[in-house]
Amino acid sequence: MSEEQDDIILSELSDEELVPQIHDDLYDGMKEEIEESVHILLDRGWMPYDVLTKALVEGMRIVGIDFRDGILFVPEVLLAANAMKGGMAILKPLLAETGAPRLGNMLIGTVKGDIHDIGKNLVTMMMEGAGFEVNDLGINNPVENYLDELESGEYDILGMSALLTTTMPYMKVVIDTMVEKGMRDDYVVLVGGAPLNEEFGKAIGADAYCRDAAVAVETAKEFMASKHNQLSA
C-alpha cells in the first residue's frame, strides 16, 4: 500500500500505530509482516482474542468491503487471506487456552462432484475469526459425509459450497435427506458459491444464500442471536 513500507520497523510502532499497520499489511497480503505484528502484540500482553478481532478480523472486514465494492479482486483477497491465515495459525492454539468466546459450531464442505474450495476456505477462516468453531469436510462430499458428521457432533450450522452449475443442485439432495431424517430443523443451513443466488437458496430449502464470506459471518451471527433469543424467551 505504501512505498515507505521498507522503512517501517513494526516493533517500533505504538499499539495505536501498529493496529492500522496490520490492517494495511493484511490489505497488501504481507504474511510475514502479519505474523511479526501478531507476535509483537502478544508480547506486549494483548489477549489473543483482541489481536484476532481488533487487528486481523477488522483488517479482513476492510478487505471484504473493498472486494464487494469492486476495488479489490479475487487474487488480492486470496493474498490477504493467506496473510491472515499466517496470523491465525499463531493465535488459534492460544485462543483455545484463553477461553475466547464461542458463538457456535459450524460444519462446512464443498458438495459432491465439486473440487472448488477457495470460497469455502475463506468462509471457514472468517467464521473462525468471528468466533465460530468450524469443522471443514473439504471437497467432493456426498450426503453421507454431511449427515454422519452432523449426527456425531454438536453443530448449529451447516454450510455448503459449490462453484459449478452442475454440482449446486446436490445441495438440495443434502437438504432433502435431512428433511427425510427429521433433522433439517435442527440446523441452520447456509449455502454459497459463484453460480448460486437468493432464489436458488430459497428453492432448495436453505435458510440463507450468502454471497460472500462476510455475509456468511453476519448471517450466521444473526441466526445464532435469534436462536438464543428463542431459547431465552
Binding site: V74, L78, N82, G113, T165, T166, A194
Partner: protein, 214 residues
C-alpha cells in the same frame, strides 16, 4: 467471403451484427464461440443466419450475461424472425434459461460449452469421473492469459497457483479443430498450471446439432 475477427476484440467487445441483415435468424452468442459458429455457417452455407457476439469476457462474470442477452434481444427483436441464444447455462445458475423463457427465445442446452462441445449426453456420463479436470477449448487456449493467468493474478502472484489449482489433476484440451499450433499452446497452458495435458478432439459437438435445428 470468410469473416476475420480477432480474439482480443471478441474477448473485450464481442462482434456486432452485420450492416446488411438477413432478417431471418440472429445467433446471439458468446464471443468465445464466434470462430466455431462462423466456421459452421461457412461449412453448412447457413446464409440465413447473422451472428452477434457478446464479449467473451462475460465468461468471467456470468452474472452479466442475462442482462446483456436481454438488452440485445430487445435491440434486435424487430429485425429478425428468430433470435437464438448461443450460450449454455454458463455459470448463470439457471438465470439465463429463465431470462430466455421470459423473452421467448431458445438457447443451447447444457451446462457450459465444455459440455456441448463434448456432447451433453457423453459429458454428463463422463464428467463425474473427471471432476479434477480443468477444461480448455480452442478459444480459451488462444486467450489463456486473458481468461486464466491475468484475472487470477497468476502473472503477478504465481504463488497463488496451488490455491486455485491444487485440487486439479489434469488439463483437458477439447480441440474443435486439428491445429498443431494450438496443441503446442495447450501444452504451454498446462505447463503454466503445473498439470499434465490430455488432448481430446471434440469438433463442434452439440453446437452444430443445436444450430442445424433452427
Amino acid at each position: 467471403m470468410a469473416m476475420e475477427v480477432d480474439d482480443n476484440t471478441l474477448t473485450e467487445k464481442g462482434l456486432d451484427v452485420p450492416d446488411v441483415k438477413t432478417g431471418r435468424v440472429l445467433l446471439l452468442a458468446c464471443g468465445a464461440l464466434a470462430h466455431e459458429i462462423l466456421a459452421l455457417k461457412r461449412l453448412n452455407k447457413w446464409d440465413h443466419m447473422d451472428l452477434q457476439c457478446l464479449p467473451a469476457k462475460y465468461h468471467l462474470y456470468p452474472d452479466k450475461i442475462p442482462a446483456a442477452v436481454e438488452e440485445a434481444v430487445h435491440k434486435h427483436h424487430d429485425d429478425y424472425e428468430t433470435i437464438f441464444v448461443v450460450y449454455a447455462d454458463c455459470g448463470t445458475g439457471g438465470l439465463l434459461q429463465a431470462k430466455c423463457a421470459e423473452l421467448g427465445v431458445e438457447m443451447v442446452a447444457g451446462p457450459h460449452c465444455y459440455s456441448f462441445f463434448e456432447g451433453n449426453d457423453l459429458f454428463a456420463k463422463t464428467s463425474e469421473d473427471e471432476i479434477t479436470a480443468f477444461y480448455l477449448t480452442d478459444f480459451l487456449v488462444k486467450q489463456f492469459d486473458a481468461f486464466v493467468i491475468k484475472p487470477m493474478g497468476l502473472d503477478r502472484h504465481p504463488e497463488l497457483r496451488d490455491m486455485y489449482f491444487g485440487n486439479y489433476t489434469k488439463v483437458v484440451y477439447q480441440a474443435q479443430v486439428n491445429d498443431p499450433v494450438l496443441d503446442a499452446k495447450a501444452q504451454t497452458c498446462a505447463d503454466k498450471l503445473g498439470l499434465p495435458l490430455e488432448r481430446r478432439f471434440t469438433g463442434y459437438g452439440d453446437l452444430e446439432v443445436a444450430l442445424v435445428d433452427i
